[in-house]
């Protein structure tokens, strides 16, 4: 017995006409009629998942398959299997960025360098956002991977191609694109350092590094030292913690660098993401510094790329501390527009002091989830940042005593 009532509104046989590839759906059976998986061999229907706890199954169906399922008396309801995403319009409210926009701040004119796979400057959301770009890979400046464009959209996308839905954290910011990673997503440490030099020469105020290496670091490797040096020149550097969690001692370089803001990833409901790398650093310091949303984030898709779960021609969804880090860079841009005199240590301290404690270990969440409005309001008072303590001696077995202070020698 066929019944329209068992179909989710908008789902119909006619809506599937011409959809040769089919459509993903979730089917709920009448409680007394749950079939075994083999019984689901219906023409036009392929089983994707058979749930054990619920009387439901996930399927891929053609129009003919939907017609048969609709007529099947054992089936109670059919929904489209909608993709689950933390849209930017959900992620930015999670840390109160819209509240700061409402005060008139969009990061207008703040210069943010994105050291990544390049930026698709022809994307509608990024048109006129890219002030300068350079290619340090030899591949050419275009983003052949998509990662850099996704990151750029989180920082400063205008949301033009989505009616403002996928607006970035600081849509007024100006982007400086240094391509330091190739289309395969890889590169060399020395190329990233060259990108840092370029960013310094461009006079940027913020640098975003959604990249890193595996292996616990004590923050004295060349890339970490280079990041510390950039911060010493008055530039805020936001670095990804890494995706090697949930074990401890999984923060590599440059996440272990002392001076940058190291960013871990959390979900919209305030859970630290399993994959987010955990501290301490190899020499025992607390990292990350903060966490921000980095799970299933929808942002700009570079033309012709397939990175992440593609939403449409202009957007794709991805997870990682790569996605949480540009949230921080955008947040910093908002702060620097509002308070141009803030120095990097003050920015870092303010973000940490005003962060929302999510209840996790400091090695997982740092100070907690950064909050744009609380940072703007400087909740907790205008304390001056304490001096950075000297690094403690290595404490882990197998971690040799050594030259943790060597980094100071190479500072200008």
């Amino acid at each position: 017995m066929a019944s329209r009532s068992k179909l989710w509104p908008g789902l119909s046989v006619s809506s599937l006409a011409g959809e040769d590839a089919g459509l993903n759906v979730i089917v709920r059976y009448r409680p007394s009629a749950v079939p075994t998986a083999p019984a689901l061999a219906i023409e036009g229907v392929s089983l994707r998942r058979h749930y054990r706890v619920f009387p439901m199954a996930a399927m891929r169906i053609t129009a003919a398959g939907l017609r048969r399922l609709e007529a099947d008396p054992t089936i109670e309801y059919i929904w489209p299997d909608l993709p689950v995403r933390a849209f930017l319009d959900k992620a930015t409210p999670a840390f109160q960025a819209p509240e700061v926009w409402a005060l008139g701040y969009t990061g207008e004119g703040v210069r943010v360098a994105i050291l990544d796979t390049g930026i698709d400057g022809n994307h509608p959301d990024l048109a006129d956002r890219v002030a300068a770009s350079t290619d340090l890979t030899g591949e050419g400046p275009h983003d052949g991977h998509g990662h850099g464009t996704h990151v750029a959209g989180i920082v400063a996308g205008t949301g033009a191609a989505s009616g403002g839905r996928y607006k970035g954290v600081a849509p007024g910011a100006r982007l400086y694109a240094a391509k330091v990673l190739g289309a395969d997503g890889g590169g060399l440490t020395s190329t990233v350092i060259a990108g840092l030099e370029w960013a310094v020469e461009q006079g940027v105020q913020v640098v975003n590094l959604s990249l890193g290496s595996t292996g616990s670091s004590d923050g004295t490797d060349a890339l970490s030292v280079a990041c510390d040096t950039v911060v010493g020149r008055g530039i805020v550097v936001c670095v990804a913690a890494g995706n090697e969690g949930p074990g401890e001692y999984t923060i590599g370089s440059p996440g272990a660098a002392r001076q940058p803001i190291t960013v871990g990833a959390c979900t919209l409901d305030g859970q630290v993401a399993d994959f987010s790398s955990r501290g301490p650093t190899a020499d025992g310091r607390v990292k990350p510094d903060i966490v921000l949303p980095g799970v299933s984030i929808t942002s700009c898709r570079a033309a012709g790329t397939q990175m992440g779960a593609v939403v449409d021609a202009y957007y794709t969804t991805a997870s990682g501390t790569s996605m949480a880090t540009p949230m921080a860079s955008g947040l910093v841009a908002l702060l620097l527009e509002a308070f141009p005199g803030l120095r990097p240590p003050e920015v870092k301290e303010r973000l940490k002091r005003t962060a929302v404690d999510l209840g996790f270990s400091p090695y997982a969440q740092g100070a907690g989830r950064a909050d744009a409005l609380r940072a703007y309001q400087n909740e907790g008072g205008p304390e001056l940042p304490p001096p950075e303590p000297p690094p403690p001696p290595p404490q882990r077995p197998g971690c040799l005593p050594g030259l943790a202070t060597l980094w100071r020698r190479v500072r200008p």
């Binding site: 290496s213 040096t229 990682g320 790569s322």
Partner: protein, 118 residues
């Protein structure tokens, strides 16, 4: 995610210059003992390195080139050279008085989850 290919157990083998041993300093540059042993084991293999130097960067880049290394970048931010060399050439460089430290020019990767586990 980009990885350091030489590290099988990241948690057990921290990176950074704290791994350098005093004995390595006696031979001139500070050189990671694991990297040094690899260079000795594979003297003809090519390796990418970052070499911290003391002195004029341009002049020392020419000096490094005279030793047979290929200078890829001058990294003024950390006063270092990014070079390509054989293991034998790298060990010779490590004895030069103007070389302060040497570390592998390690690979880095973007940190999204799709590629993060590579």
């Amino acid at each position: 995610m980009l990885s350091v290919e030489i590290q099988a157990n990241p948690a057990a083998r921290p990176t950074g210059r704290q791994r350098l041993e005093g004995g390595d300093q006696a031979m001139g540059a500070r050189l990671d003992p694991e990297l040094r042993s690899r260079l000795r084991r594979e003297p003809d293999a090519s390796v990418r390195l970052i070499v911290g130097v003391k002195g004029d960067l341009d002049a020392l880049a020419k000096e490094a080139a005279r030793s047979g290394a290929v200078v890829h970048r001058r990294l003024s931010l950390i006063h270092a050279l990014a070079i390509g060399a054989t293991g034998r050439q790298a060990l010779a460089l490590a004895r030069a008085p103007w070389v302060e430290w040497i570390e592998e020019d390690r690979k880095v990767r973007l940190l999204d989850q799709r590629t993060g586990g590579e």
